[in-house]
Symmetry: C2
Subunit: 323 residues, 2 copies
């Protein structure tokens, strides 16, 4: 039995240490990750991916913890993946995970993990999606993907989840008002957290006003509810879970559409990277790519012309190789 087979078997059997190791494998990417994900893939498709985002300081971690507690009470196995470059949990801060776990210490059906992706070559949404698949195969019912809603990659993770929860909080100032506008379009469920604070009514009214203005909305389409929570006390959290469940159990084509979009993006990403590796390794001569970089830098050609030349070279090179 290979290492991957062994790891796969143990993840499927619910071994927590194997799960942690599998997540590390996936984070590192590479051939072992590909083999593991391939082996786990037949066992996926059950878990619901719930994206949660919002500005720093909106209380995402606290809400994620409350939601975890609520879903546990409803009998779900819950995993949390915190993808947050601004958070002390990232950068491989196992300590942060451990602190968060304390609230669910004796519970074998909760798993919290943060992703150390700062500095990775893109791939934030890729590895987050793969981690989601690992949790899925490991039998979790609900996977919370928690990101900070600034930055395209982070927003993308939540946008392509099965359902997107967007969190805001009263009184974070103008920056946040503007950010909210950017996040408006991806929200399936709006949450105004810290709803006991001054300005909560105004924040909720602003969101409702923006939603009412959305004339493009189909009369039969989902209307994102605007809910209020005080996540530290768990107030309003059950209502959020109800709303998420209502969205997930709505018309089946809604969920299917999300999953198709996500799979398309994943496949396009893998194919794109495979093509680049193939071209750089098998098609172009050693130093050929670098030579074009030099020519661009010396203004002998421009990047678009250089890329076109490399593409033509690929088509021709493949032809001659094939004969």
């Amino acid at each position: 039995m290979t290492d991957v087979d062994d790891l796969t078997a143990r993840v499927l059997a619910g071994d927590r240490r194997a799960l942690a190791r599998a997540l590390s494998v996936v984070e590192r990417e590479g051939p072992e990750a590909a083999a593991l994900l391939a082996a786990l893939h037949p066992h996926t498709g059950h878990a619901r991916l719930v994206g949660i985002t919002g500005p720093p300081g909106a209380g995402k971690s606290t809400l994620a913890d409350s939601l975890t507690r609520e879903w546990r009470q409803r009998g779900h196995r819950v995993a949390v993946l915190a993808v947050d470059p601004t958070s002390p949990y990232s950068g491989g801060a196992l300590l942060g995970d451990r602190i968060r776990m304390i609230g669910h210490a004796a519970d074998p059906d909760v798993f919290i993990r943060s992703m150390a992706t700062r500095g990775a070559l893109g791939g934030l949404s890729r590895t987050a999606g793969d981690a989601g698949s690992v949790f899925d195969a490991a039998g979790f019912d609900t996977v919370l993907l928690e990101t900070v809603g600034v930055g395209q990659d982070e927003v993308e993770i939540v946008r392509t989840a099965d359902v997107a929860v967007v969190l805001t909080v009263p009184g974070l100032g103008d920056d946040v008002q503007a950010l909210k506008a950017g996040l408006m379009e991806i929200a399936d469920v709006h949450v105004v957290n810290k709803a006991d604070r001054e300005g909560a009514d105004r924040a909720a009214a602003a969101i409702e006003g923006a939603l009412a203005l959305d004339g493009a909305r189909d009369a039969r389409a989902w209307v994102p509810p605007v809910l209020r929570t005080q996540a530290t006390d768990g107030l309003g959290v059950a209502t959020v879970v109800d709303a998420v469940e209502a969205h997930l159990t709505g018309p089946p084509e809604r969920l299917a559409g999300r999953r198709r979009t996500r799979t398309e993006a994943r496949l396009r990403d893998l194919l794109g990277r495979g093509l680049m590796t193939w071209v750089e390794r098998d098609v172009l001569a050693a130093g050929e790519f670098e030579g074009w970089v030099t020519r661009v830098l010396q203004r002998e050609t421009d990047p678009h012309a250089a890329a076109a030349a490399l593409l033509a070279r690929t088509r021709a090179g493949v032809r001659s190789t094939g004969q």
Copy 2:
């Protein structure tokens, strides 16, 4: 004379309306953008790209304005590109640009532009780089690329600029302390803004402490200075410009290395997208890609195997086409 030739000529002649139009063309991407960038490319290479990043609320826009004023006093033509999904300037908010321009109203040698990239299919760093090239060709000496230092794409823009200025501010709490750690490695110049606030000494000392710990640093390498500003009053801003100039006029291989890295990334990105378009349009049959997506969704195969099959299909397809 084609539209692109005409637009190119007018950009090179310093026509501000043409510049604004050229930036819009580049933001939309597509063939017109490629033709325009190709035409402008021979006229680039002069401008210095200065990246500025930091957490929301650190005062990036204010610092960018003060830096603009300082460089203007030194005789530079200055462009500012604000790439900030959290900022009221993004989302195509021309109003924001206009408000910022008021401080430089009568000055034909300042141009401020913000990028409406939220929701774009990735490509944030791509379009920012292209906009930088347009400013470069239009004869600006210094181009400030201002981003919010959360999110990989935004950090990448600053990291691959000619010089990276990382801003922080005292008393933004734990989130920011952690974020600072993530931004530590990309900073060529550190700035503690709002230096009159309590905690400024502690913030500066924390950065200096982290820098001192960096044992990997070559003895002859650039040591990022930790500077203090009160950007609203312009205090300390000249020192920041001095530090940036010192970095830019240092060993020529430093700047050349940055520009090579940036050009490599650009060329790889263009080639990658070209390969995907070619494969989807010319190699695969209509619906073939979608068919693989369906097979993955139905668990008949996994994404990695599907990507491998599509790659093999490409190599084989090209061969047979070529014979």
